[in-house]
Structures are given as C-alpha cells and as structure tokens.
C-alpha cells in the first residue's frame, strides 16, 4: 500500500513515493538479522517481571493520544505514546537486531513515522496497536530485506474495493478489539507461541517446524486452528 510506503520512505532516506516500495535505506548499515526461532520461548518467560512503563494505556487513551498528535502536533501526547510503545517497538526490533543500538535506531524511526503519519490514522478503521505494528513491521522489512516490498494500492483503478464498507464506528472497533484480546488470551499456548515466532522472529514456518521439532503440517494446522478461533470469536460478537 502506497501510504505505508510513503512513511517508511520519508523516515528513512527515499524522497519520492512510487507504487513499488523501494529497498531499505542504504545509509544505515544494518548487519544480518539474527533469526533465532527458539528465542520467543525463552523471552516470554520473563514477561511477568518486566514493567518499564508505569501502567497500561487503554485502547481509548491510545487513540485519543494519537489523534492529538495528528491534529495538534501535541508533544505531550507524543511522549505518552512513546513511553508506552517505544519500549515495545524496541523489543520487537531487538528480536532480529544483534545489538541494542540497532533496535533503538529502528524504534526511533518507527516513532518518527508515527509522528509524521498520525494525521492519516482513521480512528474508526483500526486500532492504534495494529497501526503502529504495521509501521514497525514495514520498517523492519525494509531494514533487513534488500528487496522491494510489493503491496496493494487502494488508489489503483484495478483495485477491487470492499463489498461492504468497514464499520466506521469507534464503538464497534473497540468491541472488536476487546473480543480479539479475550480470544487471544485463551488461545492454547502452543498456538500463541507459533504466532509470536511468526510475527516477531522473522522465522519461516519450515524453520519454526525444524526448531520445534514438529512436522511442517502440524505447524500449518496450528496456525489454521488459531485463526479459525480468532475469526469465530469476532463473528460471535456480531
């Protein structure tokens, strides 16, 4: 999608937006990523005692802060978002980065993109954590893969728009986010673990299968089971 690319480009080194995303900025030397497909298993253990941030942001608070950044260029709101998301984005980046300074750098780039792009956030059409996750993910792809990052473009005349316009209500969005959160909280650990390895550690499903000593078919079926449950949880609420 062009919009995502624009942000990545602006915050790294490209100056023009083209439909095909460009490769990562060559100016920031990024060493080969560390793909540790077992790392997730260890890191999650210490989750309980990690609490850098004072307290959790609610979805509504995060949304209000992001809107204040987009609308008013509100620095205090930006700082509050940074306090919550900065350390999380850094942890996400650290799953691949070999040293902390690279994770810090990629986190900074992500937060700059959040600042630059905040006005484009549509409150009724997605939640803040998803939005920030996709920005961080795209920056990470661009940093580690020296290829283009093809994405669909909603402004393309050949693009087939949604049959039903997405629910535009913040309330509905909030309910969906809550249902997803609860559904993920009760996913079997083995399924959740696969999702974490997929999202965080940049591991292909075959390398996950190898690391966990599972048949590839089992990895695939766990993924399918996990999303079947999440989809069912969202449909139940409608």
């Amino acid at each position: 999608m062009v919009i995502r690319h624009t942000v990545a480009a602006v915050t790294t080194c490209m100056t023009i937006a083209v439909p095909i995303p460009a490769p990562a900025c060559p100016d920031i030397p990024i060493p080969k990523p560390r793909r540790d497909c077992a790392a997730g298993l260890r890191v999650n253990m210490k989750r309980a005692r990690m609490s850098e941030t004072a307290r959790e942001l609610t979805k509504d608070e995060a949304r209000a802060l992001l809107e204040a950044v987009g609308r008013d260029r509100d620095m205090a709101a930006f700082e509050a978002l940074f306090r919550h998301y900065g350390p999380r984005i850094k942890a996400y980046m650290a799953r691949l980065a070999r040293d902390g300074s690279i994770a810090e750098e990629l986190m900074q780039e992500t937060m700059i993109a959040v600042w630059n792009k905040a006005a484009q956030f549509e409150p009724g059409r997605g939640n803040v954590s998803t939005w920030i996750f996709t920005i961080a993910r795209n920056l990470r792809i661009d940093a580690y893969r020296k290829t283009r990052r093809p994405d669909f473009d909603p402004n393309d005349p050949a693009f087939v728009p949604d049959d039903t316009p997405p629910a535009d209500a913040v309330v509905e969005e909030r309910q969906e986010a809550e249902r997803l959160r609860s559904a993920m909280a009760v996913l079997p650990q083995e399924q959740l673990e696969l999702l974490r390895l997929s999202f965080f550690n940049d591991c292909s499903h075959s390398s996950i299968a190898e690391t966990l000593n599972l048949p590839l078919g089992t990895v695939k079926s766990r993924i399918r089971l996990a999303f079947a449950k999440l989809r069912a949880a969202l449909e139940d609420g409608q």
């Binding site: 210490k46 941030t53 850094k90 996400y92 990470r140 050949a158 999702l195 997929s198 695939k220």
Partner: protein
Amino acid sequence: MTVRHHVSDELLLAYAAGTLEEGWRLAVATHLALCPDCRKRLSLMEDAGGQLLEEIAPEPALATSFERLRQRVLHEGAAARPSPAGTRSAAPARAASPVLPEPLRSYVGGDVETLKWKSLGRGAYHIPIKTDDGTTMVRLLRIPAGKPVPEHGHGGRELTLVLSGSFHDGEELFARGDLEEADANVQHQPVATPGEDCICLAVTDAPLKFRSWLVRLVQPVLGI
C-alpha cells in the same frame, strides 16, 4: 467478480508478519488487490500482531531517547510530513480498469497491451519478472486457449494467480483473482479454458527445485 481460491492462512500470516520473500509477496499482494475477503482476513492477522506487540516484554529505551526523538521530529518532521491523501499509482488510469493491478503493473512496467511477450513456442508466451530475493522465479505467462499441460509432479511451492481468462485443474476452475497454491505433493493438470488465452502470474521456487508445469513449458526455450 467473485474470487473462489484464496490465500492460505499460512501464506497470509507470513505476509502479515513480513516474512515472505519478494516473489511470493508480489503474488499475494496482487491477489489482495483483487480480493476484499482476504484483505479482511489480513486485517485480523494484523490486529493479532498489534495485540502481541502490546503484550511483548518491553525493552527499555535509552534515557536520552525521547529527547532525541523530540529534537528530530521538530527539525525533520515539518519538512517530511507526507500528504494525508497518499499518492496516485504510476500508470495512467484509462477509462477501462487495467488488467494488471498494482503492485504487479509496476513490476512489469505497464498494463497488458504494452507488454512485450516472448514466445515459448506452441502458442505460449511469457515475460520474466525481475525480483531481488534470489529464491523465487517470477513470470507472467500466457497459455493458449484450450491448451492442456501434461500431468506432472512439483519440485517446490508454486503460486499461480489468474489475471485474465481462466484454467481448469481437475474439477476446479481458476479465473481472475483466483490463486492456486501448490506444493511438492500436489499432482495437477491445468488446462486453459477454451475461447480465451489465460494470463497468469506464476511464482515458483528458484531453479534448483524447478520441476513445475510452468517451467516445463519454459524449458524448451531456456534449455534447462
């Protein structure tokens, strides 16, 4: 247009997580441009990614981190702010909708009527598409109407996205927007539907494993 053959959960998750190599990603992104259903599934996966980000064990930022960020946005932010409207795609929109959606159209440099097809003999044509991942082979194929392809096995993963015309594989019909995902265990026998040439995007594992029907079609020309 109703798409019947969609991206699998595994492949879509790899797309959502950002782990797909460029060649596969091009096929999935082009399917997504044509398929609102899969975009909805993608949104759910990205929501799951966002939720996992909320729950990740935080890594403390440097003590100076926010001050540096503040200075940076004050100095770079104003100049670099992108327009909220986004940007238009490259190729000019004509009255009719292009056959090749983005991102594919930019990869091949234009829509179908501008393409310089290379003959494969027996009425088939192709256009190799350059990607930089080094692990996939990507091409646009034009299979002559009604032409069968001999039955055969596979050497690896293979994605075929129909853009124009259609083909049958056994009982299944694949038409515009449909994605056929095949792996080493699948035997199939695709036949272009009579009446119209079938144009599709084909992505396969790089040449080492190359034994797909698409490549068999190409082999006489490439001499591999």
